[in-house]
Amino acid sequence: MSGAPKVEAGAAKLPRDFTYINARKRRPSEYEAVNLHVQPRLGNWWDKGNSYLRTPEGREAFIVDSTRLRHPDWHDFRDPSSLWQRPYMRMQAEQERAIERLSEDVASSVSADVDPTWLTDILQNHYSVWSFVEYGLFRGMFSASREGLSDTVVASMLFETFDRARHSQDIVHYMLVLEENVPGFDATGAKDSWLESPRYQPLRRLVEEISFGVKDWGESIVAMNLCFDPIVTDVAVLKLIGAMGPVHGDVVSKLIVSSVERDRRRELAWSEEFVRMCTADDVPAAAENKAIIAEWVATWTPRAIDAVAPMAELYDGLAAAKTPFAEVLAAAAAKQREVVTTLGVGGGA
């Protein structure tokens, strides 16, 4: 051995945290620490220009061309909600408990409390169909999450995937409660309506195009969260079911929709952050990104408006609806336009 014991070199200053994270604050947040760099950064660190295996078709693990958008470091993305698995699960488990409890509490009186026309026309014939809408979008977002170019973007996409599955299943659970407790209630026709009813065909086409036709993961985010939800979900779920439900004695739908709205606000916030990141002044491709996103917004916004338009007959048929459907839709479109215009990617209706 080389002489007397020595003080451990380098011991004077120990790092005591992850040293590789470009933290937003002085130290990495829990969210940053447990998510960042689990996905290799393209062309750097343990990626080294994708020098690893390819698929038999020649695809590398991650590819720049999985989106038309360009960013020098996708790992710069931060979800404004700073969600990672544990707080996400805790939050959503609490939401589900509340929905389940309320469903149990009102089950025995739902037949008497809820307006019969609302039960049939809206819940049985319309809301039941929405489980298909969310299921389609769930599949689209889940698949797109394979391609996201950083772990933080993918975390937000994965949580949204789960949110959509949750909403789809919440509707199914509620339909089953109604079938059990309301004589004559039968939501099993939802699939036929989804596949055949003229009212839902523009919507089904839109869901299929977004979920199965779009292959650019950036476009999936923009189409679902900045075009579809702010218009279609806003009008056909929030304004129709959430707002009108309590008037007709339906408190469970109101709770489900409120819970879904919590998710929507979060998803809108991270999608806005995503657009801001892609179009920030210091991003070399900011102008190109802005043009591409604006093109997507211009593509999907009118489609969303067209797809939700057939819901007018449902909405305007409700005596309690004080505002005409056209105005409700126009208000949603205006609000969405404001969102995309503020982001500099306007071009909406």
């Binding site: 992850f18 020098s51 698949s143 772990d151 995937t161 299929e208």
Partner: protein
């Protein structure tokens, strides 16, 4: 309230085949998958959330409890913690690859039953990688020597063994989705999560590490569902007779690819970083868990359907006698290149090795005796300089071609596509020949760093401690021994080489009509 079965059946009916657009999966499969099979778990989002939240509360609560009752990681055997420095950044990647695998399966496998299981598994994988990152950060904050825990995730890409880990786990998501499921769920999770997350839990506890067991056991509690997902996927594809020939070949390949990296890794963690404290060695546990349970009980039950024990299993069993020891020796011999410290073996540990692996000392004893002497930088030598020649790296598994035994490697070298390729074994060569297009862009560690001095490597690859001169890696874990610095390394005068690049006349592989490779007639 409606029953779970009723709810599950209705949830499954929320499914349709798109008709306005033709659904082209991002990752097509060669397999035929029937639309209906059995979902063994009937996983619903609502039940899943409740179950996992309870598990999270127990696990993270337990973590806080351990911290309050003990002096945390500072009590743990430092040698064991160095093994975790090595392993956690690699295992995290396996979890991420597993999450990606689910996002491919959900798109490609047109089966509502299986899709529900894939969603739950994706969330589980996110759970596991967050848990493991949380654990990694806990050690960065609390271990006596946090260097390596603080940046393992960053520097793993430059590490010989972590790069091989990436190649192993890329097979979870950079391939035909069904073959990914075989690699992940049928082999990785069914054969290897017990050794990894259960056996290593006991090793951790015996080494005074009270944080890791709770995390690993909580992770393992999700794995039964994943194994069932694998079984369901397997049963689904087995029900189509046309799938069988490729299924067998894919299973053979998946098994070998997992074995070739995971067995040396777990063996090194268990038998070397475990510090000789376990009653049984990994070699013995492998017999029970991989040979008896996985091959005997699991794969055995599939034989009536035409599926056979993986072709390379006997070869793997044979390599098990040596591969862990060989990996440990080569990794310790190249210690300055890593982001962890390599403890030397105590006399008691060597006794344990000899007891567990009779004859071990005759083959490896001298190396470890010499290794302890070379702790001293005045010897001006790192053990890898004692090798008569530099090993090649295997194009298929990315590990050095030193297996099964460093003095009797089964290395073979071929030329194809204008490059020389070494293979550590016959299965690795066969696997390359089956799908050569998968390796067109691969760069092995020695190809990336050819011509780089050791000094330049440790400086530029962020392998120095905060003082800018002391190496993260050390050939010991003793608090009072000399800590090697970059000056010590400079004196050694060691350069990374790619010995295969100038090799002439390697036998040539040529493409066959079916796209696979075979030796050119002239080479036969």
């Amino acid at each position: 309230m409606p029953s779970l079965i009723e709810a599950h059946d209705r949830v499954k009916s929320v499914e349709w085949t798109p008709s306005y657009v033709e659904h082209q999966p991002r990752y097509p499969t060669r397999y035929k998958v029937p639309k209906k099979t059995k979902d063994p778990f009937r996983t619903l989002v609502r039940e899943y959330l409740t179950m996992e939240q309870e598990k999270d509360d127990r696990q993270y609560g337990g973590f806080e409890d351990v911290l309050s009752r003990t002096s945390g990681a500072k009590d743990a055997d430092p040698g064991w913690l160095e093994g975790l420095k090595l392993a956690l950044p690699i295992v995290v990647y396996a979890e991420y690859g597993a999450e990606k695998c689910q996002s491919m399966l959900v798109d490609t496998v047109d089966n509502a039953e299986l899709r529900a299981g894939y969603l739950a598994q994706a969330m589980d994988e996110r759970r596991h990688l967050n848990q493991q990152m949380y654990l990694l950060r806990y050690f960065a904050k609390n271990a006596a020597d946090p260097c390596g825990f603080d940046r393992g995730m960053q520097v793993r890409g430059d590490n010989i063994f972590a790069r091989a880990g990436r190649v192993c786990f890329d097979n979870f998501y950079v391939n035909d989705p069904i073959e990914c499921a075989l690699s992940l769920q049928v082999v990785g999770e069914t054969a290897y999560t017990n050794p990894l997350f259960v056996a290593l839990t006991a090793v951790a506890a015996l080494n005074g590490d009270h944080a890791t067991p709770g995390v690993f056991l909580s992770i393992q509690s999700d794995e039964a569902r994943h194994m069932a997902n694998g079984y369901s996927t397997l049963a689904a594809v087995l029900s189509e007779p046309d799938n069988l020939p490729m299924l067998q070949q894919d299973l053979d390949r998946s098994f070998w690819r997992q074995h070739v990296f995971l067995d040396p890794l777990i063996s090194v963690l268990f038998d070397y970083f475990g510090r000789g404290k376990m009653e049984k060695s990994y070699g013995k546990l492998w017999e029970e868990w991989v040979a008896d349970d996985w091959v005997g009980n699991y794969i055995g039950t599939l034989e009536p359907f035409g599926l056979q024990v993986p072709k390379y299993f006997a070869h793997a069993a044979d390599r098990m006698k040596w591969s862990g020891h060989t990996a440990a020796m080569v990794a310790a011999a190249s210690w300055p290149l890593h982001y962890w410290r390599w403890p030397s073996l105590t006399p008691e540990h060597m006794e344990w090795m000899e007891e567990q692996y009779p004859g071990w000392y005759d083959i490896y004893g001298n190396f470890w005796e010499a290794y302890a002497l070379l702790e001293d930088p005045s010897m001006e030598m790192i053990p890898i300089q004692g090798l008569s020649e530099r090993p090649y790296f295997c194009r298929t598994c990315a590990l050095p071609c030193v297996f099964p035994k460093i003095d009797e490697p089964t290395t073979r070298v071929r030329s194809y596509g204008g490059r020389n390729h070494a293979f550590c074994s016959e299965p690795c060569e066969e696997i390359f020949c089956q799908q050569p297009e998968r390796y067109e862009s691969t760069m092995l560690w020695d190809e990336l760093w050819d011509g780089t001095s050791l000094e330049e490597f440790v400086v530029t690859r962020n392998l120095l401690r905060e003082d800018g001169k002391t190496l993260i890696a050390q050939p010991h874990t003793k608090p009072d021994a000399h800590m090697w610095t970059v000056e010590d390394i400079t004196r050694i005068n060691f350069e990374i080489e790619n010995p295969i690049k100038n090799l002439k006349d390697a036998p040539e592989l040529v493409k066959q009509a079916d796209g696979t490779l075979a030796l050119a007639i002239a080479a036969l």
